[in-house]
């Protein structure tokens, strides 16, 4: 079947997957809300509204639509900004993990033999460790609250699955005639990797990347929840949930609003990722 035919087939399968389509629509809406929503509200994220400390959600145009927190900050705007931060770190960390995972996996799979064994053994060892600990070490030693350190650290430990997938692909691509032709034509190994191996394994990699995004968002929120991630005045969904968890008794919405956003985000990303995998990855059928 031609390349185009495979694509159309996949799209058709994707369109039949109602859960993935609905999740995709919800996700789009949330993205739109996260970036355009703060402008709709009469409030901003930093103003402390002393008249309204920890008020419940109000349903008037000028009110705090999702309530306020302990310091009187508007929860609607704050949650949306936190969603932006969480999404941003999730996407950047995924990009970092793609970069490392593709390089590592493609090299191991293409070179094969001893090198492959050693490289994948290292992946196995790292796999068996609670990888978030490595992130915790990194956040201990580097300046805390630095968003760059945060997504680099999360991405640097999230590449293991990607490396395994890429290696598998590289192993099978290595046998293909066009790679043999390139070898015979005298193309050097780096050239083969960049020109022939990597472009051809991007399809499944992109599919799995959509499943990696919610993972990365989860790691980030986890760290921020523990106080090791994003720092005030910035907030991510994890740090908002942490604040909310402190007084669930008097003001449960401070917990429930960001928690609801995070869970919806994660569930939608997972449904979309699963849908894409089922539609485009032939191994699953």
């Amino acid at each position: 079947m031609t390349e185009r035919g495979l694509w159309l087939e996949g799209l058709k399968r994707l369109r039949r997957n109602r859960a993935a389509i609905v999740a995709g629509a919800v996700l789009l809406f949330m993205l739109l809300l996260a970036f355009a929503g703060p402008a709709l509200s009469p409030h901003d994220a930093e103003t402390l509204d002393w008249e309204h400390i920890a008020v419940a959600p109000q349903f008037s145009a000028a009110g705090h639509w999702l309530g306020t927190d302990r310091l009187g900050r508007d929860l609607f705007v704050r949650t949306l900004q936190a969603t932006q931060i969480s999404l941003l770190i999730g996407l950047l960390a995924t990009a970092v993990s793609l970069l490392i995972g593709i390089s590592w996996g493609a090299l191991a799979g293409y070179l094969g033999g001893r090198t492959d064994e050693l490289m994948m053994r290292a992946v196995d060892v790292l796999y068996s460790l609670p990888y978030l600990f490595i992130v915790i070490i990194l956040t201990t030693v580097f300046a805390r609250g630095n968003v760059y350190v945060l997504f680099m650290a999360i991405g640097a430990v999230g590449w293991l699955t990607m490396a395994r997938i890429v290696r598998g692909q590289a192993l099978s691509l290595k046998q293909k005639e066009f790679v043999e032709a390139a070898v015979v034509a005298g193309v050097a190994t780096p050239g083969i990797l960049v020109r022939h191996i990597v472009p051809n394994l991007l399809g499944p990699v992109i599919v799995y990347a959509t499943l990696a995004i919610p993972q990365m968002i989860l790691y980030e929120s986890f760290l921020s929840f523990l106080g090791l991630g994003v720092q005030e005045p910035l907030a991510s969904l994890g740090s908002l949930i942490n604040q909310g968890a402190r007084d669930i008794e008097s003001a449960p919405w401070i917990l429930l609003v960001p928690a609801g956003f995070l869970v919806t985000l994660l569930v939608c990303f997972n449904f979309v990722g699963d849908g894409l995998r089922d539609a485009f990855d032939p191994r699953e059928r």
């Binding site: 060892v125 068996s128 460790l129 609670p130 990888y131 978030l132 600990f133 915790i136 070490i137 990194l138 956040t139 201990t140 030693v141 580097f142 989860l218 929120s221 986890f222 929840f225 523990l226 106080g227 090791l228 994890g238 949930i241 942490n242 909310g244 968890a245 669930i248 008794e249 449960p252 917990l255 429930l256 928690a259 995070l262 869970v263 994660l266 569930v267 997972n270």
Partner: protein, 307 residues
């Protein structure tokens, strides 16, 4: 089996060594020291502090000294908890964390496996859908959301259980943390069991067992369940890492005096020796649990032992 066990154990030591060395290097080579964040110290005080903690020695000496200490079970002094050895903090916290962690894994397996079996036997019925929805939710919901929400519902609205505390491990105080920790593992175990049990029940040896006229219960439990549990057993190694990570959250949410909370506080305070000690202990526990899972797997499946 013995040879397999020995070979498997032999790989344990170098891995632990790698963990120790790596965390030592990262922490010691990183910019900034443990005393940098306090008020500016006079050079003399600073030099004394460095000398007291051996930080003025060459890196290799420090490393060897640390290894020597480890061999005697000495993780060094905590930088921030004055006059307290890291080993003491670990000895205080570990029983709490182990109790909660083991209870969670037990609960997860004891509920997850039956749920998976029921779902597989009644596939595409309401029961099956219920189990599948539950496990999808359990996997997707992060523990730092589940924990506070459970505390809100069962601790405050219904007032059935205490919201936080330890009270020397009284069972009432364990319920919510253990359930929070067990939920994602249970969900995953149920999903794994369902898939593999359905596959096993379609295989030829099950048909043969039934054709021999064996009792259906015997077919299910003896012939069906044993091979179906293989993926669950191999997941248990990974589950340990998961439970340890989750325990950081659960101990923070429910105020348990375990090692997870020390790790978080150590990281927040830049207490280097404490963080390193915790990483090494947790690394060793993870490796040990992976080992147990592998040995169990080898015992269940003879093919694994001979490669």
């Amino acid at each position: 089996m013995l040879g397999f066990a020995v070979r498997r154990i032999a790989t344990l030591v170098p891995t632990l060594f790698v963990i120790i060395t790596l965390s030592f290097l990262i922490i010691r080579l990183a910019p900034g020291g443990p005393f940098d964040e306090e008020q500016a110290l006079s050079p003399a005080v600073r030099a004394n502090l460095d000398a007291a903690y051996g930080l003025d020695q060459p890196l290799l000496t420090q490393y060897l000294r640390y290894l020597g200490g480890l061999a005697r079970g000495d993780f060094g002094p905590s930088f921030k908890f004055r006059d307290t050895a890291v080993a003491d903090l670990i000895a205080q916290g570990l029983p709490v964390s182990l109790t909660v962690g083991l209870a969670a894994v037990l609960l997860a397996v004891l509920t997850g496996v039956p749920l998976g079996v029921i779902a597989a036997l009644r596939s595409n019925t309401t029961a099956d859908h219920a189990v599948r929805t539950l496990s999808a939710l359990g996997v997707a919901l992060p523990s730092f959301v589940v924990g506070p929400v459970l505390a809100l519902v069962f601790g405050l609205y219904l007032d059935w259980l205490p919201v936080a505390g330890w009270e020397a491990g009284r069972p009432r105080y364990l319920v919510l943390p253990v359930i929070t920790l067990a939920l994602p593992v249970m969900a995953y175990v149920a999903r794994l069991t369902r898939t593999s049990f359905m596959e096993v029940m379609r295989s030829n040896f099950i048909r043969t067992a039934r054709a021999k006229g064996l009792d259906e219960w015997r077919v299910l439990l003896h012939h069906g369940l044993r091979p179906a549990l293989m993926p669950v057993v191999s997941y248990l190694g990974a589950a340990t890492a998961f439970v340890i990570t989750g325990s950081l959250v659960v101990e923070t949410v429910f105020g348990l005096p375990g090692t997870g909370r020390y790790l978080v506080q150590g990281a927040l305070n830049r207490d280097y020796t404490l963080v390193m000690g915790m990483i090494i202990v947790y690394g060793a526990i993870t490796l040990l649990c992976n080992l147990i899972a592998d040995l169990l797997y080898g015992w269940l499946d003879p093919r694994v032992r001979h490669d």
